[in-house]
Symmetry: C2
Subunit: 407 residues, 2 copies
């Protein structure tokens, strides 16, 4: 029986005619191996930014529905050009927009969720032997409007399609070779991982790894879609993101992630009564500010201090809201530390190897790096520290957990 | 009862953010007058050419289906930006692609015909008080693919929509002030016409006038859609294109059109038997070469000469076909005169004023301009002449038929 494969190419892979042709020849090879191929593609290069700029030359606050109408053209350009390139290589292909491909989404413009996929058209085109090229990042809402899926939307399209057509694998082609033990731009000894579990990848994404967005990995995990993250321009295998298998726990720490775009906020001496946290974080959620680590510490018997981190880019939006909350709750003060970073070690091996957190803290202490906040999960330990210490922290941890010597 | 108006803006009217805002403020004024407004818009400025260039960087012969997928993004950009601009002027608006607007077309990619319009969505959005902004030039074929409508496609969208929603008028906004007695770039005394009949406008378009394509005027005539061709950037009335009314015949010649892009071909000494013309023009039609004037003259008792004109840009494509036809028919020779032009005088008044053709020939003779071919209709006389004589011919005719003195 024919295998089905979904191949996803990001915007940098289709940035110009030459790159589009290279991608097409790569797809042609996959097709020749006899697989049914569905391709998902992003907008070329800087197209999305260019379109956003056009919108902002018209108005500071463009309607989100119209923004989606505008941005969706980017992927439509990619699919048409890529399909032409395949034809010129004598490979039959057909392009489909998100709506044409049967990708249904909710009505949250600019950040819609996929609600269902009806791949009737995809199946019928595959049955004709065609490569089906689907516009990533977009779907159709119940009002038949075009909606876009927000950050990482094309990955999400690819993974969700792979689930919908029960693809044997989903290949994410990108400008890096795969998932590394740490960002190779920071740690030159960082090694490419051959495979990693969904849960580890989720933790790495949550801790700042840019390779894939958490939402796509969640869907892959839910529907058991095997992901293969690899380079567009190299033949080498990349990193497989898969269900956890025996042997993975032998490695204590699989990877280290960090996020420099963090700021720490503390609200001091809030009255200790129910509903206080809900008030603070509800107000932030209302304006869509994601709060990451939260620590509540009792300052006295009757009041608390609450500290938490937000993306530094959200700070300007967060401050007036917190000032208002401070007044309402009668808190004493708000402290803001603008330049902090988060560093996390991740590995399913932590579950069976005690003392990992302690080793992390000792390693940082030895390097004279102060830890400001700590948060842990079953397979992750994350620390907030001064941004200036971030790079050093990643390097010493990479060495301490023997990642430098990984094969 | 509210009036319904369709306003169509060409690509040069929405070429950049400033122009889009000006168009939006113009639409806002129309909406404030209380009319229901449907707007049809083309791709911004050079977008279509840019997209074509992208396609040709990929392949010399792009698939027409994919070309339509690609080109349709141009208008989608326009509708989104124009809708944003209206929102920023506090005017509620919604953009719709051709398929969303219910415009159905046949499967002739890059030159589809509109087969039907189901304006359900347009009506429901108008009923909410919104300005409905529809992407011109595009529709959906029975296979749910995007098709484009070819040259003049956005005008066609506007006129067909006006017919489908029984609009009170269809305003074609453009970079000229209206329809002139002759091209004002050639005849500086040319005057803007206040109104002209569908039939006259059809003849002018057929004879080379660039203001509107014949196919849109045909639809307007068929469904009795009143057209108003006017400037995007001026408040002044332009030219109304309407059903013929009493009084129009008082004017003998309404306008003069010319087409410099013509070439004359003659096939000499073809055997005089049935099916010869069908053979020649069938072969040209097969490769979509439009033939304009055709003259068949008996050279002897047993053979004919056939002369005809084609667009000069089609000459290269026509020659090998004609060489083959020549062999098959045993004709003696093919003559080609590359640089000819067509000049036509048009007016419904001709029907009631005899001697118009004679006056045209005398005028040209007096100016020492040789006439190579002649073709007439009830309301038109057209002559083929050397291209170098074209401008002079238009000028002397404009004067001879008293068009210089029109108010």
């Amino acid at each position: 029986m024919l295998k089905q494969v979904v191949m996803k190419f990001g915007g940098s892979s289709v940035a110009d005619a030459e790159k589009i042709k290279r991608v097409a020849s790569r797809i042609k090879v996959a097709r020749k191996l006899g697989d049914h191929v569905v391709v998902v593609v992003s907008a070329p290069g800087d197209t999305t930014d260019d379109l956003l700029e056009m919108a902002h030359r018209i108005t500071d606050s463009p309607s989100e529905r119209e923004l989606d109408m505008l941005l969706a053209t980017g992927e439509q350009v990619s699919i048409a050009l890529l399909s032409m390139a395949l034809h010129s290589f004598n490979t039959d292909a057909v392009s489909l927009t998100g709506p044409q491909a049967g990708i249904y989404a909710d009505a949250n413009h600019t950040r819609a969720r996929i609600t269902k996929i009806l791949p009737t058209k995809i199946h019928s085109e595959l049955a004709k032997g065609k490569v089906v090229i689907v516009a990533g990042f977009q779907g159709m809402n119940p009002n038949q409007d075009i909606t876009t899926l927000g950050r990482g939307g094309s990955d999400l399209t690819a993974v969700a399609l792979a689930a919908a057509i029960s693809a044997d694998r989903c290949e994410i082609y990108t400008d890096v070779k795969g998932v590394y033990t740490a960002d190779p731009r920071v740690v030159k000894e960082a090694k490419k991982l051959d495979r990693i579990s969904y849960d580890e990848m989720l933790e790495l994404a949550g801790a700042g790894s840019q390779v894939m967005q958490a939402r796509s990995i969640e869907v892959a995990k839910k529907y058991n879609v095997e992901l293969h993250v690899r380079s567009t321009f190299l033949e080498d295998e990349g990193t497989w993101i898969v269900r956890e298998v025996r042997g993975m726990e032998d490695v204590v720490v699989s990877g280290i992630a960090f996020d420099r775009n963090q700021a720490k906020l503390s609200i001091l001496e809030i009255e200790d009564r129910p509903g206080v946290a809900a008030k603070i974080f509800g107000a932030l959620a209302d304006v869509r500010i994601n709060v990451d680590m939260i620590i509540q510490s009792a300052a006295s018997g009757f009041s608390n201090d609450i500290s938490f981190t937000v993306a530094r880019t959200d700070l300007k939006k967060a401050m007036p809201i917190l000032e208002k909350v401070k007044e309402e709750l009668g808190a004493k003060d708000i402290l803001c530390e603008e330049k902090v970073a988060k560093v996390a070690i991740v590995g399913v091996g932590m579950r069976s190897h005690p003392g990992v957190a302690a080793k992390m803290f000792q390693t940082l202490a030895k390097a004279k790096i102060n830890i400001e906040m700590i948060s842990t999960s079953e397979i992750k330990v994350a620390c907030v520290l001064k941004e200036e210490d971030c790079e050093k922290a990643v390097k010493v941890l990479h060495k301490a957990f023997n990642l430098n010597s990984k094969s």
